[in-house]
């Protein structure tokens, strides 16, 4: 097997891995932080379970965005279809670069959203009637994950293999 000749596909796969791994880690950490806060509230007041669960899930979307970009990348390079495409090194690097936005922004925004969600769970703990407003604060962080998803999605789609 000629490793140098396969480098293109290696870079492309690395791109898919970056998207899924980093964004997934961001979500896992974020959901974990929010989950700690949710557990604290439910320990004292189990009736708030549904509300805090919804807020806890908000940082989970980054992982899904990473998964989406990962799927598109795998599909683009033919891994999913069974017939691996002939990917040059430059195309492989382009795909890796295209995957970076959702990977990096997914990681950081997932953590930030988790912290905001934990604070928002504090609002629900004290004023459950303000649930709608409490949802908005972590949802704001989502904007930047969506922007990164958009760029990664368009970039991966735009690369000709």
């Amino acid at each position: 097997m000629n490793i140098a000749g396969e480098l293109g596909i290696v870079y492309a796969l690395l791109g898919a891995a970056v998207a899924v791994l980093f964004a997934g880690c961001g979500s896992a950490i974020g959901v974990g932080i929010a989950g700690q806060a949710a557990s604290g509230v439910v320990t004292e007041d189990p009736s708030k379970f549904a509300k805090v669960l919804i807020i806890q899930l908000l940082p989970g979307t980054q992982g899904l965005y990473g998964l989406l970009v990962g799927f598109i990348t795998l599909s683009k390079i033919g891994i999913l279809g069974g017939g691996t495409a002939d990917v040059s090194v430059s195309t492989g690097l382009l795909i890796l670069a295209a995957c970076l936005p959702i990977g990096i922004v997914g990681l950081l925004s997932g953590i930030a959203q988790g912290r905001t969600a934990a604070a928002a769970i504090g609002i629900v703990a004290k004023k459950p009637e303000q649930f709608g407003k409490a949802m908005l604060f972590p949802a704001m962080v989502e904007t930047y994950a969506i922007l990164a998803l958009l760029v990664s999605f368009l970039a991966v789609n735009g690369i000709q293999v």
Partner: protein, 323 residues
């Protein structure tokens, strides 16, 4: 991400803050005609235990225990709360030293909801197992016991232990590494120093006496405070005006109880900002102090009603609520 160890604890405290008494609830309690009616009112709010009966002291003691049970349950590291638990620990030491020296046993003089409960402290002092006490406490206990045995001067023994307690609080604040705990410890020591200055002035104590009783802290200069105390109460108030305790100067001129109230309110005011923090130990400390203040306020109101004090006299002593 590294500072998320209090996330669970803070969220749980947020849920518990809902049940803290607001100023409106305290107003309702004040409106109760008798102490019994007041006690029933707080018990309807969940105070005390179903099996505990309707004894005021038992209800209030149970509430203190409940607060510490919650903190012990949620706090990942109890050592940061040394600043709050040390007064009880050193009280137990003081009581144990006196019990051992006088060879008398008085029931109900110990706190049991602290690291070393009364019975254990008494055993340690009786057997002179000073090494079992934390930090400098062993050395202080030994000195205090020897002093009391040789001089029979209870006040000297009290001063030694009280000063050691203040030093330990200051040191625990620094050791915690948490700015809010350090600030709390410093304020606690500073307020204790100010109270010592006021009482020493009223009882005509010397500068050396005050020096042996006061502990060093950041926000108050002990030497300046002693000089002010030797010059008179007005001088103490004037000195306070130049410190971060300026608001206390007017309270001090008003009355000692107004000053005590101001001290507690200032602490509550400082801790109120912690209601908006999500990832630090601050909300836990805020809740703990808020509960202690709440219990103190309920005790003042119920005791006032028991002894037939006029509402205005009781109202003057009521603390500001945390929520």
């Amino acid at each position: 991400m590294s500072n998320t160890k209090y996330t669970y604890a803070v969220a749980r405290i947020r849920a518990l803050e809902v049940s803290l008494f607001s100023d409106a609830v305290i107003g309702q309690l004040l409106a109760c005609r008798t102490a019994e009616e007041g006690l029933r009112f707080v018990m309807e709010k969940g105070w005390g235990d179903v099996s505990g009966g309707v004894d005021m002291d038992a209800v209030l003691k149970r509430e203190e225990e409940k607060t510490w049970e919650v903190i012990r349950d949620v706090a990942p590291d109890m050592s940061v709360f040394d600043v709050v638990s040390y007064p009880k620990l050193y009280h137990n030491l003081k009581a144990a030293v006196k019990e051992v020296c006088t060879e008398k046993r008085t029931p109900g003089i110990f706190y049991d909801d602290c690291d070393i409960p009364g019975s254990e402290m008494l055993r340690i002092i009786e057997n002179r197992e000073f090494s079992k006490l934390p930090g400098n406490m062993g050395r202080v206990a030994e000195e205090a016991l020897e002093t009391l045995l040789h001089t029979r001067d209870g006040q000297l023994c009290d001063i030694m232990i009280d000063k050691a307690a203040l030093d330990a609080i200051c040191e625990a604040g620094r050791r915690s590494g948490e700015p809010i705990i350090e600030n709390y410890a410093d304020t606690t020591v500073a307020i204790a120093d100010i109270k010592i200055a006021v009482r020493s002035h009223k009882t005509g104590k010397s500068g050396d006496f005050m020096r042996s009783a006061m502990a060093e802290c950041r926000s108050v200069n002990v030497e300046q405070l002693i000089r002010a105390a030797l010059a008179g109460e007005e001088e103490i108030a004037r000195y306070l005006e130049g410190t971060s305790y300026a608001g206390g100067a007017d309270a001090l001129r008003e009355s000692p109880s107004a000053f005590e109230r101001w001290c507690d309110n200032r602490m509550t005011e400082t801790l109120k900002t912690q209601k908006y923090d999500t990832f630090s130990v601050g909300p836990l400390l805020g809740y703990l102090i808020a509960r202690e203040n709440e219990i103190k306020t309920v005790r003042i109101i119920l005791t006032g009603k028991q002894n037939g004090f006029p509402d205005d006299a009781v109202r003057e002593r009521i603390r500001e609520m945390y929520v």
